[in-house]
């Protein structure tokens, strides 16, 4: 093997190590508020990347992400809450007996959240993925809404509108970012696998893909289910971050924010979703200043509530109208590009990479 490959492996390991050290260091140094925002960013990155898989890489315009998040969040919450908490919280109608005494550790519960969300993904995908474009969008939006309405009405399982609280809390950067990094690695490998090529073929031309022997429906289902799985994981993480959930959290507005991440980062670029996920989360917090009263040059300007969402809506429109590629287009970050820039191990492998 030649130098380039070894260098890249070394770089990958080094990056992971540096990240691990940074997260470990961050856990002890950063304030709880900063950590909360960074953890939220990790969740939004997972959401953005998984929605990008469905929308950007497979070309299915699904608006059901918030529904799958909802499933993941409720699954993880119910599995991890202590029996005492459940007794306290289900004060309207007691929880069904088969869920009452379950108390799982956080990590398996998170993965279970993903799995149950994936099951819902299959259930929803089976009818919905026969549709395309607008119809797919409106049908998945409808399914997300149906999921939310069912959660609201099944009080003895979900506690209905009262929501759940006392969900075990997890605060460390390491926890959330580990899930985030693993998600990105899995999605990256998926996209560069034969499945990934099939996804992209379907996105670029469904009929041509079918003619080339790609099983369109199977691959659409795969992409959709995997997307739902990671949305469920993100929902579970959200439950542990906020420690209280209720059905109104998972409205369509949430999907809009994820869509913004996907579009801003570039439909078809994981790197883009990572960057945009972090930017949007921090900007959400940072842009609060536009909603506060302020004094500029001695002029009192009253706070304008709602201004942030106006800015985000304009941002979305500007990106889709003028910079349809978003930040990254369909490009990904890779070491070759960086190494070329730095003039290291020059072009030795250019032919095959």
């Amino acid at each position: 093997m030649d130098g380039r490959k070894n260098i890249k492996i070394a770089l990958n390991i080094a990056t992971l190590l540096v990240t691990a050290v940074f997260l470990y260091w961050g856990d002890s140094v950063l304030s709880p508020f900063q950590k909360r925002i960074l953890n939220l960013a990790a969740i939004f990155v997972i959401l953005g990347a998984s929605m990008n898989l469905v929308v950007g890489f497979t070309g299915m315009f699904s608006l059901g992400h918030s529904g799958f998040m909802c499933v993941g969040a409720y699954t993880a919450a119910i599995l991890t809450m202590s029996p005492e908490s459940k007794e306290l919280i289900y004060y309207m109608e007691p929880i069904v007996p088969w869920l009452k005494n379950i108390e799982w550790p956080i990590i398996p519960a998170t993965i279970m959240g993903g799995i149950i969300a994936a099951v819902f993904g299959i259930l929803v995908g089976f009818p919905a993925l026969r549709l395309r474009d607008d119809y797919l969008a409106i049908a998945t939006l409808g399914f997300a809404e149906i999921i939310r309405i069912i959660v609201t009405n099944t009080i003895s399982i979900t506690n209905g509108a009262l929501g759940l609280k006392n969900i075990p809390s997890e605060k460390s950067l390491l926890f959330y970012w580990s899930f985030c990094i693993i998600t990105i690695i899995i999605l990256k490998n998926l996209i560069n696998s034969s499945w990934g090529y099939a996804f992209k073929a379907i996105r670029d031309n469904e009929i041509a893909a079918e003619a080339m022997g790609v099983s369109v429906f199977k691959h659409k289902m795969l992409s959709f289910t995997i997307g739902a799985f990671f949305a469920g994981i993100a929902g579970a993480l959200m439950a542990f971050l906020i420690t209280s959930i209720d059905p109104t959290m998972f409205r369509f507005l949430f999907t809009f924010q994820i869509l913004l991440i996907v579009v801003l980062g570039g439909m078809g670029s994981l790197t883009g979703s990572v960057i945009a996920g972090i930017i949007i989360t921090i900007a959400m917090e940072w842009l609060r200043f536009v909603e506060r009263p302020m004094t500029i040059l001695g002029m009192d300007i009253p706070g304008i509530p709602g201004m942030r969402m106006v800015i985000f809506a304009i941002l979305l429109l500007v990106v889709v109208l003028f910079y349809r590629q978003g930040l990254m287009g369909t490009k990904e970050f890779n070491w070759d590009w960086l190494l070329d820039k730095l003039g290291l191990a020059r072009n030795r492998e250019r032919g095959i990479s």
């Binding site: 009818p127 549709l131 474009d133 119809y135 809404e145 106006v310 809506a313």
Partner: protein, 297 residues
């Protein structure tokens, strides 16, 4: 259930269904031409309602003038939206156009929150337009009669335009095949703008009627009627104007009857519309009155 209650439910169903039908006509026209869910259509209902509201309350205009101005304003807004947010994306992937539509919708909603505030406002009901009618044990608003009439009149007018005028013929040509129509010297831009103007005008009428029936307006008021009327349009067969009317009536009647016959399921009422939508899309994607569409390469 007594006969009186049943008749009351029918009256409720007609008044809700005719509103759905009225709004669904606008949806179906726009969709028929550009094959794009105009998410902003729902928010045009809101804009029209606020325009009418401020016309009456701030500028003290007579209600009919205020309504006319609101319809005019909404029409202009609808045309501008087409020009700014949809036209540049006509040759772009469908997803981009959909995202743009969602973006416009969110922009209008949030601009609404910034400009007029999030809290709901009471919409004035002109006394010579809205009154209570008691027939035996049944009560309904005069609107339950007025709205179906308006819907029928507009339906006839739209049919006339589409079938008898030059622009209507051009519209049908464009809706059948965009590119061929433009090759046949149809001014596609003019057709699309006209469609948006008519569609937005219908949205405005629908929005004002909605606000008269449910006299409380807020910046997010369009979201649910918008979704449901789109569903109604799909039920009837998207692109088909009479279909939208049938779909609207059926959906409104279905929702009312669901609560009437199964009060225990009243919490699932919003899910009902979506379930119907999904069933229709799966089993009769062309809708009740629509033609079956074959996917083109």
């Amino acid at each position: 259930m007594t006969l009186e209650t049943f008749l009351q439910n029918i009256a409720n169903g007609i008044s809700l269904g005719s509103l759905y039908a009225l709004i669904a006509i606008g949806y179906t026209m726009v969709y028929g031409i550009i094959r794009l869910i105009n998410f902003a259509h729902a928010d045009l209902l809101m804009v029209a309602s606020y325009a009418a509201f401020y016309g009456i309350l701030i500028f003290a205009l007579p209600w009919w003038l205020s309504f006319l101005l609101a319809i005019l304003l909404t029409t202009i807004l609808g045309m501008s939206i087409e020009k700014i947010a949809y036209r540049p994306l006509r040759d772009a992937p469908r997803i981009s156009a959909l995202i743009s539509a969602i973006g416009v919708s969110f922009l209008l909603q949030n601009l609404g929150i910034v400009l007029v505030g999030a809290s709901p406002k009471p919409f004035p009901r002109p006394e010579n337009l809205v009154w209570n009618i008691h027939l035996g044990g049944i009560s309904f608003l005069s609107l339950a009669v007025i709205i179906p009439l308006i819907t029928l009149v507009l339906l006839a007018a739209v049919n006339l335009v589409v079938n008898k005028t030059n622009i209507g013929i051009a519209m049908r040509a464009v809706s059948r095949d965009f590119e061929t129509a433009s090759l046949m010297a149809v001014d596609v831009n003019k057709v699309v703008v006209t469609t948006f103007a008519v569609g937005s005008g219908l949205a405005a009428v629908g929005g004002i009627m909605w606000s008269l029936q449910y006299p409380q307006i807020d910046p997010l008021m369009g979201v649910f009627p918008g979704l449901k009327c789109f569903i109604a349009a799909v039920m009837g067969g998207i692109g088909s104007v009479p279909g939208a009317m049938v779909g609207g009536f059926l959906l409104g009647m279905g929702e009312v009857m669901l609560v009437g016959f199964m009060p225990d399921l009243s919490g699932y009422r919003d899910a009902f519309a979506f379930v119907v939508l999904i069933l229709i899309l799966l089993f009769k994607p062309g809708g009740i009155l629509g033609e079956h569409v074959v996917e083109k390469v």
